[in-house]
Every structure is written in C-alpha cells, then in structure tokens.
C-alpha cells in the first residue's frame, strides 16, 4: 500500500500543490518565475481578451455537452430497453471507440470534413455545384469532434442509472394511469437525471480543458482554456498564469460537481413540496 500512496503523493499531490503555489507567483522578466506573492494571475482572467476566450470555450463546451447528453441519453435508453442478453454487447460496442486513440478519432473527422473529404464528395454526389463549403476548421467541426469523442462516456454514464432503475416503477406509473410520456417525465427522468448530470460535468470540463480538438479540427482558430494553458507553458512561457488557468479548470469542475449534487438534493426536495402543495391546494 505504502509504495503506491508514496507514488501518488510524490507525482500527483506534490506537483498539483506546486501548480497551486505557482499560480500565486509573478512571472519573471525572461519567462522565469519571480517568487513574490500576487493575485494578478487570477485577475488576468477578467482581462477582456481572456474573458472572451473563457466565454467562447464555455459556449462551445456547453453546446457539445448538451448535444452529447441528448444523443447519449437516447442511446442509453435504447440499450437499456433492449433484450437483457444483448445489452452488454450493445454497451461494449458503444464504449469501444472510447478506448481507441483520441488523436485517431479526431483525425478521422479531418478525413471526413476536409475540402476534399467524404462529406464534400457526398454533397457533390447529391448535385451540389460550386465551391465546397468549408466544414473543417469551424466551430461546428470542433463541437462535432468533442461530441464524437465523449459520446461513449455519456452513454455509459446514462446507462448506469437507467439499468439500475426498477422496470416495475415504469409499469407502476402506467398502471396508475400515466401515459408513456408522463411516465418518462415524472418517474424515469427525475430518477436518472442526477447520475447523468455528474457525467455531463465531466464532459464539460474535459471539453473546456481540451486543446487537441480545437487545434486539429478548429485549425487553431478556436481557443479553449486548454489551448491557453498549453500556450502559457509551451510558447508564452508564463507558467504562473498557466497554473492559475489550470487551477481555474479544477475549480470549475469542483464547482459544477457541487452544484450538481446540491441541485439533485434540491430537486428531490422540491418535487416533494410541489406534489405536497398540489395535493394540499
């Protein structure tokens, strides 16, 4: 036990603590680190230049998360409704791409989306004339790449609560007179939502901190927080600011997870009062 914990302490806890500390130091004149305490690295985040990138990357990550959750939930629902013996097979094939190389999966979309790619070819085949639309290096391409890469994760996150759900709950709702739609809205969705929200938080954080997909599918035109961190460490050499940015990433993740946990708590509480009121009123 001890060697493993020592390993984690030396190569995860200490380095992460170091980054936290770095975030409060000043950038040296030649790119080094000046050991004076400052909060200006966090202040930089409110600089209009960076704030714009923050909002932009939050929007892209948010859109990708939303799409991934909608598709992923539908897929997970379909898998959970499939015959029991087929479910592990379906699930395995849904998750399989997740375990193949991230770069390769992203690269596959370059092949599909580029100007001479298959999608353009398909458009031509359908009779499209003229200049092929630029599909690659767009926000849409970045979002598609993120959805594609994280969809298996969302399917898995959505499947777990759906599979755990006692199918008799749905039947009970139907038996008590609810339509299929009402059953979904009032029983199935509320019971599976908290688990799915936790999955969504991870997808959002992984997306917003991503630098590979914006670099490859966005052609560097769309900066995410991940790209900023990358730049501070590998090109701009402003480590303290890069450290502050990555701490911000962790903070966003913690914050969202906490909000999610509280919302889940509140939602069940609110559902109780709302139904109580209906019955009382």
């Amino acid at each position: 036990m001890a060697p493993a914990l020592a390993w984690l302490a030396a190569l995860m806890v200490v380095p992460c603590g170091l980054v936290l500390a770095l975030a409060f130091f000043r950038r040296g004149i030649y790119g080094g680190i000046e050991y004076t305490f400052t909060l200006e690295n966090f202040g930089l985040a409110f600089d209009p230049l960076y704030a714009g990138i923050f909002l932009n990357s939050a929007r892209i990550a948010g859109t990708a998360t939303l799409i991934a959750v909608v598709i992923g939930y539908a897929a997970a629902y379909a898998i959970a409704a499939a015959p029991r013996r087929l479910q592990p097979v379906f699930l395995f094939f849904a998750v399989l791409p997740f375990w193949s190389n991230y770069l390769i999966r992203t690269y596959a979309w370059i092949v599909l989306l580029n100007r001479e790619g298959l999608l353009t070819q398909l458009l031509r085949w359908f009779g499209y004339e003229g200049e092929p639309p630029s599909l690659l290096y767009t926000e849409g391409a970045v979002i598609t790449g993120l959805v594609y890469n994280y969809l298996p994760f969302v399917i898995l996150a959505c499947y777990a609560p759906l599979a755990r759900l006692n199918p008799e709950l749905g039947e009970a709702s139907r038996d008590l007179g609810a339509s299929a739609m009402t059953t979904f809205r009032r029983v199935i969705l509320p019971l599976t939502l908290p688990g799915i929200a936790a999955g969504a938080v991870f997808v959002f954080v992984l997306s917003i901190g991503n630098f590979v997909t914006p670099a490859l599918l966005g052609g560097g035109r769309f900066q995410m927080i991940g790209n900023l961190v990358y730049d501070q460490f590998l090109t701009a050499n402003d480590w303290p600011f890069g450290a502050a940015l990555s701490m911000a990433l962790i903070a966003i993740m913690m914050l969202l997870l906490t909000v999610q946990a509280m919302a889940a708590e509140r939602a069940s509480g609110r559902a109780r009062t709302a139904e109580g009121d209906a019955a009382h009123g």
Binding site: N166, E168, L169, E171, A172, S173, R174, D175, L176, G177, A178, S179, T182, R186, V187, P190, L191, S268, A271, R272, E275, G276, A278, A279, H280, G281
Partner: protein, 357 residues
C-alpha cells in the same frame, strides 16, 4: 341472497412467449367483491396471468370480459384495474403522500378531491403519520401498506396483488393476512392475489384457482379444494396428504400388498388403472374403532412434537414413505406412544380420496 355477480370473466385466455406457453387456455370467473387467489408453484403461469389482467402482457388468445366488455386490448393506464407490485415499486423520489396521489393526479381530479381521498386512504391504512416520509425511510410492512394505498385510492374495479406478503417476515405475514382481509371487506373492492403459499391462499381467499404449467386444475372455495381436490397434484400441493399407490378396483384401490382401500371412485377411472388412495393426516385414527373400513399395521418411525399436536411418522407396508399422522396432544397424553412401537392405524372410506396415478 341473489346470485353473486360475475365481475371479470377470463375466457379461454392463453399467453405464449415464443414457443413457451405460459398460460394455456384458462377460463374462470371472478365475482364481485370476492377475495380470489391464484395459486400454484413457481412457473405455473400465475404471474403471467396477473400481468395479462393488468395489461402489461397482451393475451395470445381468448377474451377478458370486465363488466361484460372485452378489455384485452386496453393499455394498462386506461384499465380500471390496478396492480400492487411484488417489489411494491414505490417511486423513491416521491413522498408517501405523493406516491398515493400520483394515480389520482393522472385522472386530472381537482386538487381538493385528491387531497381528501388521499387523507382518507392514509387514515384507512394507518399511514397518516408517515405521509411526508420517503419510501427509503419506511419499514417493509409500511412500504407494503403504501403500495396498497396507492393502488386502492384509485378505487379500481379490480385490485391485483402479486405475492403481496412475499417480502415480509413470517410473523408480520400472519398479521397482514388478516389485515388485508379486513381491508378488502372495508373498501368493497375485488381482490385477486397471486401466491405460491397454499396456506396463505387457504386463510385469505373466498375462492381460489390452482394452476400448473399454465393450465387451470381446479377453481373452488378453499374448503372444497382441501376436501375434494380435483387430482393428485392438487391433493399434494394443498396441505399434507398420504398416498397409497395401487390399482383401481370396483370400490377402492387395491394396493400392491393386496389390501383394498375403500373410497369413492372418481369418474373416468377404469378397473385395473394405476390409482392412488389418499388421506389427510388429521383423518387417520390411531387404534381405530370398529367399523372403520381402511386399516393397516405399522411401526412408529419418528415423532415430532408441535405443541398443539403430535406428528407421527408411521412406516407401513402400503407405501415406501411413512404415513404422516396428526394426533392431538390431548389424545397423545391419554395413550403415550414411543418410537419403535407397533400401532394400528385406520381411516374411513368417506375420508379416502382416490385419484388416477
């Protein structure tokens, strides 16, 4: 008293899943206001039949006439039939009150009426104190009452209960049997209960049906089924029965030992057919009086004391298995019996049932 009115007529209903026949041409009538039990070993099709009644399975053949109308194709949410699930299936994210009002909200009733009916039902089921609890904060018995209240509050024409007492421990089960019976009397709703526990069915049901391999074997009052089982399976499944194999004679069964056990011959049994004579343990006399027709000698193989009565295992030449005989503690006191004693046992022809083997 007028004839009891038929509420639900199950008419030649079948259900197959692929090549597996779960319910095979079952016909029976369930009457208004009765407590009806579907009884059988696991896999006999009773739960499938219940799910057909609830609307979760469409019958492969036959009709379901509720108040004379065929409901076989009506979806579960539009049937005046409610099911109490074996797992209770309480909505874990809703309070007890919300669970119970759910079904009434689906009927789009005014809020005031919902509140009134839920309060009334909470009181009837003694749940008023627990109205704001979540299912996870309830005991097994309380959950069972919520599940019952949730189905009953809709005042269904027919309440289906799938092994309602299966999840409770033995002691609570006994109390709930009487409680269910009382409740059914109070609300005046027809109950159809599925159980594999023959004792439970005997205690609670006004009438019961015994199923095996998807087929209906017998449908009658508990008393009739206990005293006059339709066949060897029913005789064996309900209560305890001693069997003596042999061949059918003119007025009884001739055992392999050449002893004639007298009894009433059922129809369709020809002389020489394989047959069994059967008798309940409590109908057997130790040291039988004059005039008791069927008798044999044996040796006491084991004794089991049960408080109220004594069970004797008596090995005879009539069967490989020892006879089970129940003697009241009172009688046992008057004439003490020990293991290894030779005894004579006997029973009257009127208490002897004869079946095709």
């Amino acid at each position: 008293m007028s004839d009891p009115k038929t509420l639900l007529s199950i008419d030649n209903v079948s259900k197959n899943f692929g090549s597996v026949v779960a319910v095979d041409g079952v016909s029976l009538d369930i009457r208004e206001n009765e407590f009806f039990a579907l009884l059988g070993p696991s896999g006999c099709g009773k739960t499938t039949l219940l799910r057909v009644l609830a609307g979760f399975e469409a019958p492969s053949g036959g009709r379901l006439l509720l108040d004379g109308k065929d409901i076989a194709r009506i979806p579960p949410n539009r049937r005046p039939v409610n099911l109490m699930f074996q797992s209770y299936a309480l909505f874990p994210h809703m309070s007890v009150r919300a669970n119970i009002s759910y079904g009434l909200e689906m009927e789009k009733l005014p809020a005031a009426e919902i509140r009134g009916r839920v309060d009334e039902m909470l009181a009837t089921t003694q749940l008023s104190e627990l109205a704001d609890r979540k299912p996870e904060q309830l005991s097994g018995g309380q959950k069972q009452r919520v599940a019952l209240a949730r189905a009953l509050v809709k005042k269904p024409r027919l309440l289906l209960l799938d092994e309602p007492l299966g999840a409770l421990d033995k002691k609570l089960r006994g109390a709930m049997q009487l409680e269910l019976k009382r409740l059914q009397d109070d609300v005046g709703i027809t109950f159809v209960i599925v159980t594999h526990d023959q004792e439970e069915a005997l205690v609670m049901a006004d009438r019961m049906a015994v199923l095996k391999d998807g087929r209906l074997l017998q449908c009658d009052t508990p008393h009739e089924i206990y005293e006059h089982p339709a066949d060897r399976f029913v005789a064996d499944f309900i209560g305890v029965m001693n069997f003596c194999p042999g061949k059918a004679g003119a007025d009884g069964v001739m055992t392999t030992e050449g002893i004639l056990l007298k009894g009433t011959m059922p129809q369709g049994l020809a002389t020489g057919d394989a047959a069994v004579a059967a008798v309940r343990p409590e109908r057997i006399h130790i040291f039988p009086a004059e005039g008791i027709e069927n008798r044999t000698g044996g040796k006491v193989a084991a004794l089991a004391y049960h408080g109220l009565d004594l069970q004797l295992h008596i090995q005879t030449s009539l069967n490989d298995k020892p006879f089970l005989v129940r003697v009241t503690a009172d009688a046992a006191d008057r004439r003490p019996i020990g293991v290894g004693d030779a005894v004579e046992i006997g029973w009257s022809a009127a208490d002897t049932r004869i079946f095709k083997d």
